[in-house]
Symmetry: C2
Subunit: 358 residues, 2 copies
């Protein structure tokens, strides 16, 4: 198959990890006789520096014309410490999600058995946990009206959902539950928030269409607790943009490390694939970032956007083999990792490539 | 000393656990020669059933006239499954927080060593963790304007903070940090939210007044992850109402169980003391609820509202002794707990009372 991929590496370790992700795409194309072509585009701080705009028009145009996007990260400490900055790297990420209508963010949380000991959570609590998050990605307080009043002394943001926005993500989550263990947990704060009450109404309306799916509702505070206490009770979790942001980062501890977690952002056209980790400026340029989340994002791209199941499986298996062989990046190493198996970004990528070639 | 305490037991297990909390107050009065008088008031579902109002005027009047409030819980599954209910038990809790101006919710997260094994988190990650949360409690999306538009098909809530609201809680948190390990972590989502940018501005403005305190800012998603990955890195954490709700419930796993966590809600006058757990209708009336969070709420009341340090310490020590003696309620038991040490609500309370009397 012919596919055209835009690589948007962005800021910080985004550059280092997408470079490895791209090598994996190249290896897959070679092994399975596909023809993948590539382009690059700017986003975030990098784009601000080059053009003044965190999401140049060209980035949107190229993205729309592609079959899939391999995304790195956005962010820069400079803006984090300057709350008054008007132009911010994150506008690039939020902008592209909105421009491409990527309303469903899929975040699979699954622990590779070899990493059981890398987590701060007890192995017996984790073993067998397998959660698929559906985070709504183009609504909520991320995109509602915000501003200042009262001479700048009062600041507000609007949490807002329309029935239609909730419906389309909830349906995707139910569909996914049907292909899995047929359990759906919807997370909201309906005991306080009106937007959550609409959310819960919609889930209740759609549920009868999926009589085989066992549905539960959890308040976000309880969900944050239960994820750690008993992750195995969850199968598919569907929630809004803000709660999804918080819960999936938290859930990264179930997977041993944020450095292992891939995500797929999908809508009605081109899909975008990115690690859930951020730009991590503290380790940028040191060559120690874990490239596995970017590699696993490639696996999601092959599976979801290109329908290449065997190819996706080959990538996941290669990652699994490398972990089985004992190789670790710093973030997933533990006291028992021998120093010659502690790899940097590039070497970890090379191990995966070798397994793919074999 | 003479003190007048209003007991607002509320819904579900709130009744069972505050009954034990009150016994502990009585024991302390006796032991230390204080004169505590009591009154009761209605809230939540219970108040709706009796008066139609989740927070009757009388409850507010009695509360304002008291020296402290011992609070149970609010909530009822009936409303959770009916998103369109106009009158809800939670309005009672939110109403009393607002009516008494209880803007600072203190939630100490500290693991009793005996419970190291009850948590889903590894003992070596937990040991020594000691966090004091300051959750803002009368602002944010809990109290902003909310509603429906578009024929009910769009729902919104307003996340809103004024400079003054942020200042007073942040100052309380800095003051507390000065009496502890002098570290403050402020949690927000300033890379997206305007209300968070105001929050961060205020923290940055106040920080220079406390040159000895080491300040860090974390985004809420990162904080949710770090709490589990490395709880020991935190000392005092200050955050808004919604993020505080989520993070403190999550952090309950650090303390082994939600059933162990007490909180103090303070403002400019009367303080309110309550477990962080909810009404737990699934175990209501079964006599198995853990009363220790209510007992530890009493300890906070003695300490913060009445300045009775020795009395507060006696309560905490009694809880500690009971745990050391191996007694457990169901929620904090583990495989090694012998069945004769597995106690219900009342027996657990009696153990604490015995230790207090000794
Ligand atoms: C960078 C930030 C705006 C973003 C978000 O909050 O969505 C990130 O945390 C994520 O989860 O992709
Ligand atoms: C019952 C609910 C409204 C409340 C809240 O969200 O504040 C509870 O979760 C809490 O944390 O005290």
């Amino acid at each position: 198959m012919k596919k055209h991929i835009v690589v948007i590496a962005g800021d910080g370790i985004g550059q280092e990890v997408t470079a490895v992700g791209k090598q994996v795409l190249e290896a897959i194309a070679k092994k399975y006789n596909h023809e993948f072509t590539y382009d690059t585009a700017l986003i975030g701080h990098e784009a601000i520096e080059a053009t003044g705009n965190p999401i140049p028009d060209e980035t949107v145009t190229k993205s729309k014309a592609s079959d899939a996007i391999l995304f790195g990260a956005v962010g820069h400490p400079k803006y984090d410490n300057d709350p008054s900055a008007k132009v911010r790297p994150e506008q690039g990420l939020l902008g592209i999600r909105k421009a491409l209508g990527l309303y469903a963010n899929l975040r699979p949380i699954k622990l590779f058995d070899e990493l059981l000991s890398a987590s701060s959570i007890k192995p017996e609590i984790l073993k067998g946990a397998d959660i698929l998050f559906f985070r709504e990605l183009t609504g909520d307080v991320y995109f509602g009206e915000r501003g200042r009043k009262d001479d700048g002394n009062t600041a507000y943001d609007t949490m807002i959902y329309s029935r239609y926005e909730v419906e389309r993500i909830v349906i995707k989550a139910f569909d996914a539950a049907m292909t899995r263990r047929k359990k759906l947990c919807s997370v909201d704060k309906a005991n306080v928030l009106e937007s959550s009450r609409l959310w819960r109404e919609v889930v209740q309306e759609i549920a009868p269409r999926y009589p085989e799916v066992e549905v539960e509702h959890q308040f976000v505070d309880a969900a944050a607790m239960l994820l750690i206490k008993d992750p195995k009770r969850f199968d598919v979790v569907v929630t809004g943009n803000l709660f999804g942001d918080i819960l999936t980062d938290e859930a990264s501890q179930i997977a041993g490390s944020m450095g292992m977690l891939a995500s797929a952002s999908i809508g009605d056209t081109t899909g975008l694939y990115e690690p859930i980790h951020g730009s991590a400026h503290d380790i940028t340029g040191k060559g120690v970032a874990n490239p596995l989340a970017s590699i696993l994002s490639v696996a999601l791209m092959l599976d979801i956007s290109f329908g290449m199941k065997a190819e996706a499986e080959a990538v996941v298996n290669a990652v699994d083999s490398v972990l089985k062989a004992g190789f670790r990046t710093r973030d997933i190493a533990d006291a028992s990792t021998p120093s010659d198996k502690l790899l940097g970004t590039k070497d970890m990528g090379d191990q995966v490539l070798q397994h793919l070639a074999a």
